[in-house]
């Protein structure tokens, strides 16, 4: 298994609050890796470090062998040309049409002429099932359409790896399944490395080749899907079987918490 991203000893803080404690993981190339975990355990935070938006307190992130935590802006931009990111809320620029949104990275990083860019934009929009919507503004689209347009923009420069933050959050089951299909297609047809943050168990079973499960700032499990299903770690079982967290307070402790002592 060839690794695309290697995370070593990653520790991060927001202010003085420690979020990730010591994350070590490797993400295989050409596969779909799912980052799992409960709400607030730091999945989005980890993703933001992988795409170089945040700098860790400690640790390394090696992408294709070079450490992005030590890169300056220009070097980082070279790496970013090979990455696409689909944000949780799609993050399309509201002042631009869909066509211009998708064209933005192409215009920024290539010297192609306008007619070529137009064709590329149409191709990308068609790939996500949005042909004919070039001249729509993001505010005129539904949530699912925005997500797909965000994906078209992420794919604009034919990246090697693509990051998804909760692709199916807030979508109806049919649209969510459609997005899963797209992710599968990217792997099967284009051999793309996908990194997907999600807590939709069904979608995990469908798309993942490799799973990294976070818990309280540490890696609880990493390996293939079969291993995850077979694991008998109580927290993993709870997650897979959708069980509620056990009551951990004694009645006295609970009284203290609500009384604020």
């Amino acid at each position: 298994m060839e690794t695309a991203i290697e995370i070593a000893g990653l520790q991060t803080h927001y202010g003085s609050r420690e979020i990730l404690k010591n994350v070590c993981a490797s993400i295989p190339r050409g596969k779909t890796t799912v980052i799992l975990g409960g709400s607030g355990c730091g999945k989005s935070t980890l993703l933001k470090h992988l795409i170089g938006l945040l700098k860790p307190t400690k640790g390394q992130i090696l992408i294709n062998g070079s450490d992005i935590t030590r890169m300056d802006e220009d070097e980082m931009n070279e790496v970013r040309k090979k990455m696409g990111v689909l944000f949780q809320g799609a993050a399309l620029l509201n002042s631009l049409t869909l066509g211009d949104n998708v064209a933005l990275p192409i215009r920024e990083h290539t010297r192609l002429n306008e007619s070529t860019i137009k064709i590329m934009v149409r191709m990308k929009l068609d790939q996500v099932g949005l042909s004919g919507f070039e001249n729509f503004f993001p505010s005129q689209l539904s949530g699912g359409m925005k997500k797909r347009a965000g994906l078209a923009r992420a794919l604009a420069l034919d990246p090697e790896m693509i990051f998804f933050d909760e692709p199916s959050a807030g979508l109806d089951p049919v649209t969510a399944a459609g997005l899963d299909e797209l992710i599968l297609k990217l792997r099967n047809v284009f051999r793309m490395t996908s990194i997907v943050v999600t807590h939709e168990i069904e979608s995990v079973f469908k798309i993942s080749d490799y799973v990294i499960m976070l818990d309280a700032g540490n890696v609880l499990y990493q390996g293939d899907l079969a291993g995850l299903k077979a694991s008998d770690h109580p927290r993993i079982r709870m997650f897979l079987e959708r069980q509620p967290e056990q009551e951990t307070y004694s009645p006295d402790d609970y009284f203290k918490i609500i009384a604020g002592d």
Partner: protein
Amino acid sequence: MPSGPKPAASAPASASWPEAVLGALGRRVLSLRGDIHDAAKIINDTVHWTFISPFKGRPIRFRASISEMVKAGYNSVPIISVISLFVGIILALQAAYQLKRMGALIYVANLVGVSLTRELGPIMTAIIVSGRSGSAFAAEIGSMKAAEEVDALTTMGVNPVRYLVVPKLLALMIMVPALTIISDLVGIFGGFLLAVTALEIHPYNYFQQTVNALLIKDVFTGLLKAWAFGIVITLVGAYQGFKVTGGAEEVGRRTTASVVTSIFLVVIVDLFFTGLFYYFT
């Protein structure tokens, strides 16, 4: 409640009182240091992407700059004209009130012309532009920040300062002086209107008096100030916008803060320049 532990509990409480004060002070200083760091970073990036990188083959977004100029400049012409006209009239009235008593009514022209070009034109323009454009910058960048659009730009390898701030800076560096010229002219015209009607000064005399009173220096220093105000307003709007981390409520708060801060800083910069010109020109 048992009374036993009470003295024991109050001892650490009194010991932690100075600790709490120092702690609060320390947090204040730390957050101020963070603010200064953020502001310095935005200033540094803006200067770099406006004045240095265009010479290294990363051109400024020309079309966006034009559209910012239309939004910030062209669209404020009516409001600035109306306000300047009225201020010109008010100035002439106030000047006449004193000068009439000395039989020096013709000096209304000097007072109106000089105070408008040196001071009131630039500062009125800056205050209106702060309210119209500075707040719009903060709101635009802030809501983009809240919707992760700024992060999206960064991950596409598009520097957000270059993409968002530089066209606005360019627009205001050109449009605030241009609007100041309009404000000066319209304000002087307002004074003229009042003088030839209510004060019964002969139009030609008023005109001649104004031309004689105004030095190139007066107009030029006013425009230089206006240019600096444009920079201040853009930077404050951008700073407040990029500071947004939460949602819509914070965008609103930052927008208000941007207007208050930029008016405050405009006055400070004005004081600085006026002092400088007083001693060195």
